[in-house]
Symmetry: C2
Subunit: 597 residues, 2 copies
């Protein structure tokens, strides 16, 4: 009933025409050999894998779910077809896509990895949870492990022969990692990077904590060494494999899995470590720093989940709206009539204004979000690989600022968009058959994990916006340049004006946020969510203006015209949504009441 | 894990202090004997039933769901405990609450019935689906049936001994009832009210189409008689019992049930009528008119679902936020500290600004929505029972205008509110245990059935607002009076100003909507959703202003202060959300593009 079509043409447009990524690649020695055609071919193959191998497992996996058994220390069976699909993914070399060739990777840009993951998630979010943490684990191990540990674990993670997990959350420690209680005790007398320790504690919400897709599992566990200080400074990162190098089963037990709203095919495990053997990754007390190392790429990965749900929901809703015939649509121009529509009778609902507005909104948000996400991917590569230190620093500043916005704003859009798309189906949207209600359920989790969206807003405002003014200035420079480029074109006056309005709103918001923080410790936190969504909408405005300006470079004139119209729609119809957000930043002057119960 | 506390004190405040319903009852002969104390006692008993009998079945019923079997023409078993709870409901006389004493009812106001149903739905939406259509069926049978049919079916429906269904939707006919194909053929030669017919056709999404709670089921079926005109004018309403008066099984088969996103305990049936015996309700071709007879009360019932989910989600999220301790909350005043909170350490998350804002929003929306819904219930009674024809007409005008707004706006708020409440729980919100993810799933359907929210917006704008200006004028008179009453009080200047702003926005919106309609048949439909949400927000502003003004009458001074602060919060923090909605009404001047695929 549901099929998935990879948005290959749109990714090419974003990579080649909107972002001109190939020019950036040529300037970066790591990617100097990569050209647009090769990149497009990689994505075409990745899209084929998504559509042909894992998309068919999406609905069945949701209905079957994971099954836990207490045998063998607690084991999880993933849905039928999951392990075989994983093997195919490994055989295709996909886990290694953006890893360093020096350790067996393919050395391709993170931008391409992000695009690949958009397609994988859109095809099957639950399945893609398993490789979702792999790149982050690769980065953490690569940056912190001793040569011996790297030798033993890194190539297996790069190849995907073994999957990895992140063990952060405990029942009492969610957003507040400082409350982590898991303990690690030295086993060899020493306490330095690579030392052997015994890990004990309970972890929850561990994605892939157990599964039947790989022969071993590499757990990365946050725990406290003896006499470690309280709070996050006392956390160390420890590598705890399910099976020890000698093949014996380590005391890392899976006590059960959660029964969740969605992503039923993902094994969300309760883990219990009982003096399990592990090895310190990095020096004692550097656990949180190691987490921060992979934070930007992990958050971009979750942002891609938001984009993927927008794309998937849009595809489903549009296909249904073109088929479903109800009532007469007013004022439909003759040349807009689909071949199947009988004139005078009821019309495909795609032509009813209320439905058309939902679908256009989804399309405009999807394409704008893809430009934004692609840009962050490109900047992430530049921040690591660009030969010019100034360029690296500027890219790193922008990544730091944009990542929390993309994580929270795009996952909000993805979930709300899926929910709006469900409405296009009427009563059929509420039943399992069309897959859209699953999309609503699956998309909700992305707003929660990897730092809740409220935590992202605090990170954005307190750390990224107010404390480091050069970051928002770098973004405003970029937006000003885009506005100026649009102003140079007579046909883009509306785009330029809309973008200028957002630039002015961001500057005003900065004044409000500084004033709020000076006024009251909690006033600025009360409006942080508005600041994040305001900035998110402003970034969409930038993306749409850029899309409109670059549309003429699109090889297909009809597609180019479509992009111009979608951009114009976004900039004229959808900016009103954020007007209230910007206005509400002013509310810090009127504190939230304390009365609740 | 989840408990439900009926909002009895708040309903008393709304009924007695905000709406002064007892004064209206004294003016209506049907309710002249009813006083505030009796009404409160009825609600207290209803609340007890909701909390003690059906709330405990809510989570288990979701997990167990309904089970269909092909035996005996297709039968459905409801979740464990549902039939016994129904018997208790019948024994308590609850189905008859708002029915005419002349046919065995208790003759209480629909306002009280609406309040009762808010509590039932909040406790268990799925279970409450079964009686949800009963009052509508009662109204349809009472208004259209011959004395013989009334004799045979009405008292059983009033008592709840038999449940009823509405059979409208067919696979090809959802929002477009004119496409209904089910047929009815005369069996006795005559074709008039009460004539016997044979009904054939397929119906889908029939709530309670089969169930094991009552010995018989009274199906009300929309079908076409021979030679009926095409479209909705050719529809007739037919009563088709599951068991015929002589006890034989009628050919009304249940071919299966839907597997849905939520309300798993509700039997959503696929029905097949194979020359099933039925009787005409009313004259041929009056089927749709009969549906319209019960539309206002049915839509108010769905609006109560929105309110119920707001209330239920608020209760759950607040209880969790008071228990859950994470991170230090900035700037929390000492007197706001809950007994359990250790100073200096992590705080209950209820004191974190981002959480407090979500919770205050939920509380303000819930209480404002309750005033609005209660007012519509009161007006519904006055439109039917008031001795003054002018008063009846005015009440009927307001009901006609407000009902589509309440149905769509409150169900939107209920679903989005439940979704926001889920966020308060972090990762725990995504698992079944706390019941909040079920609330998100259950609440989604209310935006779809009984006319999708998009259909409500079209009904509001085209039929209720533009075509009959006296209706919006009646509402504006009411709002102006409230604004004037607030202006007379120095402490309510902010409330008065906020309400005046909304009155001005509604007048301006009327000008835009008329201009849009004159301009283009589809332009006005493209902004209908904004008009509905704008009006919904303006009605909340009216409700909050009125709440603030009436707060001094609250018997508990602390509760009175809380209502003043919540109202002020709603009128200052939440009105910005709608600013964009009002602004976007202007967009009709810039038509939606046609480009989609």
């Amino acid at each position: 009933m549901t099929t998935y079509t990879p948005p290959l043409e749109d990714w090419r447009f974003v990579i080649e025409q909107v972002l001109d990524a190939p020019a950036s690649w040529r300037a970066q020695p790591a990617f100097a050999d990569l050209d647009a055609e090769t990149a497009a071919e990689v994505l075409a193959q990745g899209g084929r894998f998504a559509a042909e191998v894992i998309a068919p497992l999406n609905g069945p996996g949701d209905r079957q779910g994971c099954r836990w058994s207490p045998d063998d220390g607690g084991t999880v069976r993933t849905p039928d077809g999951y392990p075989a699909a994983w093997q195919a993914f490994v055989d295709g070399g996909w886990p290694a896509l953006a890893c360093d060739p020096a350790v067996g990777g393919q050395g391709l840009p993170q931008l391409l990895n992000a695009a690949l993951f958009e397609m994988l998630i859109a095809a099957n979010h639950a399945w893609t949870m398993y490789p979702g943490l792999l790149h982050g684990a690769y980065e953490a191990i690569k940056a912190t492990a001793t040569p011996e540990l790297r030798e033993r674990y890194l190539s297996k993670v790069v190849s995907g022969e073994w999957l990895a997990t992140m063990n952060l959350t405990e029942p009492q420690a969610g957003s507040d990692l400082g409350l982590i209680r898991s303990k690690a005790e030295p086993l060899d007398g020493t306490l330095t990077s690579g030392s052997r320790v015994a890990v004990s504690g309970n972890k929850i919400f561990i994605s892939g904590g157990d599964q039947d897709m790989t022969a071993n599992i590499v757990h990365l566990v946050l725990a406290r060494l003896p006499d470690a200080p309280a709070g996050t400074k006392g956390l160390s990162l420890i590598l705890v494999p399910k099976f020890l190098p000698d093949g014996t089963r380590n005391a890392a037990w899976c006590d059960g899995i959660e029964h969740k709203m969605g992503i039923h095919g993902s094994s969300t495990s309760q883990m219990r470590f009982e003096r399990a053997t592990g090895w310190l990754l990095g020096e004692p007390g550097t656990g949180l720093a190691a987490m921060f190392l992979m934070m930007n790429s992990a958050r971009l990965h979750v942002a891609m989940q938001g984009l993927a749900h927008l794309e998937g929901a849009t595809q489903k809703a549009l296909a249904y709206a073109q088929e479903r015939v109800q009532l007469r649509a007013p004022g439909r121009p003759a040349d807009a009539m689909p071949s199947g529509g009988a004139s005078g009778g009821p019309d495909p609902i795609v032509w009813h204004p209320a439905m058309r507005r939902i679908l256009l909104t989804l399309q405009a948000q999807t394409e704008g979000a893809r430009v934004l996400a692609g840009w962050i991917g490109l900047l992430l590569d530049e921040s690591e690989q660009h030969p010019e230190p100034a360029q690296r620093a500027r890219a790193a500043d922008l990544v730091a600022l944009l990542t929390p916005v993309a994580k929270a704003f795009l996952t909000d859009l993805g979930h709300r968009g899926a929910d709006d798309a469900l409405g296009v189906f009427g009563g059929y949207g509420y039943v399992h058959e069309y897959g859209i209600e699953q999309q609503v359920r699956d998309s909700r989790i992305a707003m929660i994990y990897e730092g809740t969206n409220q935590i992202q807003a605090i990170d954005l405002v307190m750390r990224k916006w107010l404390d480091t003014p050069r970051r928002i200035e770098a973004l405003l420079d970029e937006m000003e340049a885009e506005a100026a480029a649009c102003e140079a074109r007579a046909d883009l006056a509306i785009e330029a004006a809309a973008l200028r309005e957002q630039i002015a709103a961001i500057r005003l918001a900065g004044i409000d946020l500084h004033a709020a923080r000076a006024h009251d410790a909690q006033a600025v936190l009360a409006v942080a969510d508005d600041a994040l969504h305001g900035l998110g909408h402003a970034l969409l405005a930038w993306a749409w203006a850029r899309m409109a300006r670059c549309a003429e470079r699109h090889p297909d004139p009809r597609a180019a015209q479509r992009k111009r119209e979608l951009s114009r729609f976004g900039l004229t119809w959808l900016m009103d949504d954020q007007a209230g957000r910007w206005m509400r930043l002013r509310q810090w002057q009127r504190p939230l009441p304390w009365v609740l119960a």
